[in-house]
């Protein structure tokens, strides 16, 4: 086989590999969804972030607007600091609220942005002032049980 034929075949092989890589990156992975476009950073402090993980989606009205990039603990207030990257196209009013919500009953947790009514928008690197922590199932059950106990106590007192 001639040298030229072999070189052509190797060129085809390498090209096929590149096409495969492009396919994996664009069609089968997340390149080109959020990371490719312009984005800005917001932070939010939560008393409890529950099971939120880096790369979790940030949604507003269910629409994907960004992703959680980092999670850390503020050692002064002992709050969880969640850093989010939001696409440049999506701007939120200054008094918007960030909530940690769960998709489905037992699904993954994500950050939900509840827009406020302010004229001014949140600027890059701003902190979202209003937050609502994740609902922790144990606390919920605890509240339910203590609630029942309290109401049971008042009921017996009332019957006396």
């Amino acid at each position: 086989m001639g040298k030229r034929t072999i070189e052509t075949a190797v060129g085809g092989f390498v090209l096929l590999g590149m096409l495969g890589l492009v396919f994996l990156a664009l069609q089968a992975a997340n390149l080109g969804s959020v990371s490719g476009r312009d984005a800005y950073t917001l932070t939010a402090r939560f008393d409890n972030i529950g099971g939120l993980k880096p790369r979790a989606p940030v949604r507003s009205a269910g629409v994907l607007v960004g992703r959680v990039t980092a999670i850390s603990l503020d050692l002064k207030t002992f709050q969880g600091v969640v850093t989010m990257t939001i696409e440049q196209d999506y701007q939120f009013p200054k008094d918007s609220a960030a909530k940690i919500l769960t998709s489905g009953l037992l699904g993954d947790q994500y950050v939900g942005m509840q827009p406020g009514g302010d004229d001014q928008n949140l600027q890059p690197n701003d902190t979202v002032a209003q937050t609502q922590s994740a609902v922790v199932l144990e606390n919920l059950i605890g509240q339910f049980i203590t609630g029942r106990a309290d109401s049971a106590g008042t009921a017996t007192e009332g019957s006396k």
């Binding site: 590999g17 994996l24 990156a25 069609q27 089968a28 997340n30 990371s35 790369r55």
Partner: protein, 259 residues
């Protein structure tokens, strides 16, 4: 006393073997820049190692994608999560099966031919003849094959994964009737280019080095007899496969231990 001596001798033999292989690897790396100057040799090896492994790799990838999609569907449909099928197949292929199965097939398809070729060159004293002519056989014969293997393996692994995902798409969407939009979109939201695809490719580069070096070493150190070459070829497949499986666990633990 006799037992202690045998144990000591076995341990020393083992260490000597390791040292020998390490020096071989070092000399091989040293010979790489010289062989890059004769790039035609490298291209010929990429052709021999890469292009000619293409059919077996892509067929296997397609088959793995088909079967994985079918089996995952039976498990997932019970939980009403059949749309996640693409995601599971994608992660399994890109992170693990692509690099590992490609490396195992590579050891069988390309590694054996490298060992047999170099073993017969040694048996026919062609390598000694080169040394007599002051040509370094490591730079002229071995290093181009090493580069060929390192270049070919990631490309083959990428194609394995890509063809496998397409195969899973055919089974899931065309045969079973999973929604095509969900199949892709769940995949795109959950699979990360750098963490999943990038680490998978990094793995396959490491496996490419391991498989090719094992094959070359076994060929270079073969006994210069027909049995010796046969034995070396067998050892190539066994040792390269064990290396790949062992390193895969370590690499997976390093790369994917945090979610």
């Amino acid at each position: 006393m006799g037992f202690l001596q045998r144990l000591g001798a076995a341990a020393l033999d083992q260490f000597r073997g390791w040292g020998h292989a390490a020096f071989f690897f070092g000399e091989l790396l040293w010979a790489v820049p010289a062989s890059l100057r004769r790039f035609g040799l490298v291209v010929a090896q990429i052709y021999a190692i890469g292009n000619r492994s293409l059919i077996i790799i892509m067929t296997s990838g397609l088959a793995v994608g088909f079967v994985l999609a079918l089996q995952m569907y039976y498990a997932l449909v019970a939980y009403g999560a059949a749309e996640s099928l693409g995601l599971i197949v994608n992660l399994a292929l890109v992170r693990e099966l692509g690099p590992v199965v490609t490396a195992l097939l590579f050891a069988g398809r390309a590694g054996t031919s490298l060992t047999a070729e170099i073993g017969l060159m040694k048996a026919g004293e062609q390598l000694s003849a080169m040394e007599m002519m002051a040509i370094d056989p490591k730079a002229r014969v071995l290093a181009p094959r090493l580069i060929g293997g390192i270049v070919a393996m990631p490309i083959l692994a990428i194609l394995f994964s890509a063809v496998g995902i397409l195969g899973a798409w055919v089974v899931a969407v065309k045969l079973i009737g999973v929604d095509s939009g969900n199949f892709w979109s769940i995949m795109q939201t959950q699979v990360d280019v750098w963490r999943d695809v990038g680490n998978g490719i990094l793995k396959s580069v490491v496996f490419g080095v391991a498989c090719t070096v094992v094959a070359l070493y076994q060929g270079y150190e073969t006994q210069a007899t027909p049995e010796g070459v046969a034995y070396a070829t067998t050892r190539t497949v066994v040792i390269a496969s064990l290396w790949v499986l062992g390193m895969d666990f370590i690499l997976t633990a390093l790369m994917f231990s945090t979610p």
